[in-house]
Amino acid sequence: MSSEQAAPLLRIEDLHVSVGERDILRGVDLTIEEGETHVLLGPNGGGKSTLLNTIVGIPGYRVTQGRIVFKGVDLAGLEIDERARLGIGIAFQRPPAVRGVRLRQMLEVAARSELTPDTVADLDETLSLGHMLDRDVNMGFSGGEAKRSEMAQLLAQMPDLALFDEPESGVDLDNIAVVGGAMNSLLKGEERISERRRAGLIITHTGHILEFVNADVGHVLYNGRLACKGNPLDLIEEISSHGYDKCVECALCQTFA
């Protein structure tokens, strides 16, 4: 490695975020390099989705301290769409239904008018979109359909940093495999490891998705901060046997507290 290291893809420094009157995040530090896949664990209501929503720039998630730097650009003041065009993409846990806007149109938007019939056919094949393509997006979609639709949109967008909010929640095993396969191809592509560039941040409760996607690092969001970091599978194992309270104290992790 050269001594003059390139700036990381994403650098979050001492991030404090409030929603309404409540302080949800209280000093999150996180660095994601190109090509890395990170996992975000933590108790319900701990602020995992808040972190993702703050990165994409959803209004209402107020940064009160600290900063988020993506590709060397401070994201403060950038609109959601500007961040998206800079290379940040997200698969929502529960995306909203939009009456009158079809999934096909969402794919066109995400692909920035570079959507070829071949790409649509490929997405249809990998994610079995079928009749969903011409339905109003998320309108009456089943759990699995909504996740596949989110993945299709991310694959059309091909962001440099993909954020996944509980990609396996409310989804049966068959669909997890399909969604996981899509995540894998987005994050790892066909490229050789040395050339991997796209990065991911995955929120998961169960860790099932990690049977399909290789993650490099896991973090536990606890009390508004990333309390510890370690091998994602080890962390999940530890949490499932001892709970979050014990996990953040355990020796497996490199703690920051």
Binding site: P59, I80, R85, F92, V101, A110
Partner: protein
């Protein structure tokens, strides 16, 4: 009409119509702002044309926005009225024996007795208000379209009523007859020349849908900021007949007030009203429909989508009257108000008259586009204004089952044009 010899009965009917109209000349309409109609003179004569191609370029472009095309290969028949003159009437060869198209004054000359007995002021009351009165007393033509029994005409029939001068009133009376088992798609555009400022269009339309017949009537209105519009429409549907009304208003208007009434007299007959309304600038828009469910097993649905901007006021009404135990009908009106200076009313109205079994329901909502939907589109890289426009277009592009492709494209195109202008 003076040169037509009529039976005493028909003459008596004409006298009756005239008397009813005369009694109503000063009668304001129940709804909508009142208009001083004495300010307007009636529209003038115009020269007839040999082909639609010879229409002025600007006229052609204007009418195209309401679905009227000079290229007749996509149409089965055409009627074009300029001011008070039917300047062009033609049925395409292939449909020669299926469709009749002419002005209503010509139809009265040809079929006076039949018209007066069955179709002339039978679905609309000439004494309803001063707008029906002005048409009854000072009519300036209008179209007559008849589709012969059993003939299913897929290619649309097009009719255009055009006003080219200011300070006039165009008082048309239209009749469409779809005989038993026949089917037709009629696209009508009402347009005015880009130079026209003030004026009035009073239009009576009487539609008769026979047994097992089907009429899809699509109207795209294209008026201007100082123009007033008062259509009065009555529809009668016989056994197993289907009436589908698609209405689109995407341009400013001074005021428009219309409340077509469909009478489902035949058993198992159906009426569907779909409307897409944009309130722009200072427009005062008061639109709705009434369906009377009279025959056994009658059905009706009314779907309205309203977007209001600027300083517009929009009333979106819908009335269902159930008069039989086996009827079923639903209203669905949704609106988005996009300006703090705009007002919208959604007024659904249901009545069951001596019909305890009637199933009538409605959904009415006025609400903004949900912020989370806008954010959702933005996360895919779409700027906020484009996201709002895309969602708005989605909101108004209601799925109209059975809408012929040409009409769908026409409406999409009109919506597209409007949202481009609104940007």
């Amino acid at each position: 009409m003076s040169d037509v010899r009529l039976s005493p009965g028909a003459e008596a009917r004409l006298t009756e119509i005239r008397a009813a109209a005369e009694a109503a000349v000063d009668k304001p309409a129940a709804l909508g702002p009142d208009i001083d109609i004495t300010r307007f003179r009636t529209v003038s004569e115009a020269d007839t044309i040999a082909s639609l191609d010879s229409l002025e370029r600007q006229v052609k472009e204007t009418v195209l926005l309401s679905g009227f095309t000079a290229d007749e290969t996509e149409r089965s028949a055409s009627y074009f009225q300029m001011d008070r003159t039917p300047i062009y009437e033609r049925v395409q060869k292939a449909f020669d024996d299926a469709i009749e198209i002419m002005s209503t004054e010509e139809a009265l000359k040809l079929y006076g007795e039949e018209m007066l007995e069955k179709y002339w002021w039978r679905a609309v009351d000439p004494g309803k208000d001063k707008y029906t009165a002005i048409v009854a007393l000072h009519q300036t033509e209008g179209y007559f379209i008849r589709i012969k029994a059993g003939r299913k005409v897929e290619k649309p029939i097009q009719a255009c009523l055009f006003v080219s001068e200011s300070d006039v009133s165009q008082n048309v009376h239209n009749v469409i007859i779809v005989e038993d088992g026949a089917e037709a798609n009629v696209i009508t555009g009402c347009n005015i020349h880009t130079d026209v400022k003030e004026g009035l269009h009073a239009g009576i339309s009487e539609f008769y849908v026979g047994r097992g017949a089907k009429l899809t009537f699509t109207m795209v209105h294209n008026w201007a900021e100082d123009f007033s519009v008062r259509p009065r429409t009555g529809i009668v549907v016989e056994e197993d007949g289907v009436y589908i009304n698609n209405y689109v208003l995407l341009k400013p208007v001074k005021s428009i007030q219309a409340f077509p009434v469909a009478k489902l007299v035949g058993d198992r007959s159906t009426a569907v009203f779909n409307s897409i309304v944009y309130g722009l600038k200072d427009s005062v828009i008061d639109l709705g429909s009434e369906t009377q469910l009279i025959g056994e097993g009658t059905r009706s649905e009314a779907v309205a989508r309203t977007v209001s901007m600027d300083r517009s006021t929009v009333y979106s009404r819908g009335r269902l009257i159930g008069r039989t135990n086996t009827c079923k009908a639903h209203l669905d009106c949704r609106g988005i108000v996009q300006s703090a200076e705009s007002t919208q009313w959604a007024i659904p109205d249901l009545a069951s008259e001596g019909a305890p079994g009637a199933e009538l329901s409605h959904e009415a909502a006025i609400s903004p586009i949900a912020a989370e939907e806008i954010y959702y589109l933005m996360t895919r890289g779409l700027p906020k204004d484009e996201a709002v426009s895309m969602i708005t277009r989605g909101f108004v592009s209601i799925d109209i089952p059975g809408l012929p492709d040409v009409l769908r494209k026409q409406i999409d195109k009109a919506i597209e044009e409007t949202s481009k202008e609104a940007m």
